[in-house]
């Protein structure tokens, strides 16, 4: 690996940082390479870009907890300046064993789901009242920001953009009873999470959602005008509803274990190599153990198994 590749990989792994922070970190490490003048030695000393990114983001998370403490001390002062309060970083954390089900619902936000050792929710650019994060007695962790947000996305002096940003950490290989994820107009990336759930519900309005490695039981997908991309496995009967959006499912397993039925409007449908487009209906009497029931208006649904 050379310096450019290293910096590029580092950049790709700093998902949870804002653009400014990312640029700051990249500047620091580019400088570091320049000063040291021995790329291979620096790469050896810094460790893999993934590990370095983890150190950077983890330390940031700790710093955020610290920032929260000082926030409560100087509360009176900040209440006068609502904008400042709105850009405060919030941080919540829950142990792996305490959470049994997950309900995530975001209206407009940039959401990143990453893998870690416990459940944690971190936010920037969101008023503390607008983000609801709550763990009920029966283990349902609710995170939503459905209250109206500052849609301006600009700081009061217009000097920088403040996009509401939420970072959710899920423990790797977490087992959940129910997993619900709803995105309104936001952008949600969850490429690296590895979880399993017996029941799921994934909905996208006009946003963009990328999910990786979900081992699911029955999962229902709904996609309005957005973009939904899913990787993992499904068991039992699952529903896929697609309006004008695009749904892409990459499923593990044997194509022969899956059956489907479809109602198609003007859209496109693809099931491995079988293609259908235009108005059609396909019923399937041979329902197998894993079944997908697809309803597609004008969008496109692409299911790849294997």
């Amino acid at each position: 690996m050379n310096r450019e590749e290293y910096i590029k990989q580092l950049q790709n792994n700093l998902l949870s940082l804002t653009e400014d922070e990312k640029a700051e970190a990249i500047k620091y490490y580019s400088d570091y390479f320049d000063e040291a003048n021995d790329d291979q030695k620096v790469i050896e000393e810094l460790g893999s870009p993934e590990e370095l990114a983890k150190t950077i983001t983890e330390k940031f998370a700790n710093a955020l907890v610290g920032a929260n403490k000082t926030k409560s001390e100087g509360k009176d002062k900040e209440e006068n300046d609502t904008f400042k309060a709105s850009t405060q970083a919030l941080y919540y954390e829950f142990s792996k064993s305490s959470v049994k089900s997950l309900y995530l619902s975001f209206s407009t936000a940039e959401v990143v789901l990453i893998s870690g050792s416990k459940y944690a929710v971190e936010s920037r650019g969101i008023e503390s009242q607008a983000l609801n994060c709550h763990l009920s007695n029966d283990g349902l962790l609710t995170v939503n920001n459905s209250k109206r947000l500052n849609f301006n996305f600009w700081s009061h002096d217009r000097s920088r953009r403040v996009v509401p940003r939420i970072l959710v950490t899920l423990p790797s290989k977490a087992k959940l009873d129910k997993f619900q994820l709803m995105i309104g107009a936001g952008d949600c990336k969850a490429k690296d999470v590895e979880i399993s759930c017996s029941k799921g519900n994934i909905e996208v309005g006009a946003g963009n959602l990328v999910m990786g490695s979900i081992e699911g039981g029955k999962i229902d997908f709904r996609c309005g005008m957005g973009n939904l991309s899913f990787e993992g496995s499904l068991k039992g009967r699952s529903n896929v509803d697609c309006g004008m959006g695009s749904v892409k499912l990459n499923l593990k397993g044997n194509p022969l274990d899956y059956s489907y039925d479809i109602k198609l409007g003007l859209g496109d449908f693809k099931f491995n190599d079988e293609k259908k487009s235009g108005v059609c209906k396909v019923f399937n009497n041979q329902i197998k153990e894993n079944h997908l029931s697809v309803n597609c208006g004008m969008g496109s649904v692409n299911i790849q198994i294997g």
Binding site: A25, Y29, D31, V42, E45, T55, I56, K59
Partner: protein
Amino acid sequence: MVFTAGSALLDAVVLSVVSQQGTYGYKITQDVRKIMDVSESTLYPVLRRLQKDNCLETYDMEFQGRNRRYYKITSNGMILLDKYRSEWVTFRKGVNEILMGESQ
């Protein structure tokens, strides 16, 4: 080093290194690593945190045709460093008394 340094001591050492003169990331890392066993990757988060707490400031200055990012200490940082220094004096005295059998 057999003794592990906590994060407060690391903060104190970094602040002190920066307080002596405006300096840059790589040099700070080398200076700190002369006396403490910390990995190269931990220094950036420390600098960034101190910067966020308004203890350090950065500025860019040209060096051999490129912009080098320098760190300097702020008045907030000086106050914190003073606090760390007086804490250190007390701590060192206590340790010396017990560990080295020195009594004053």
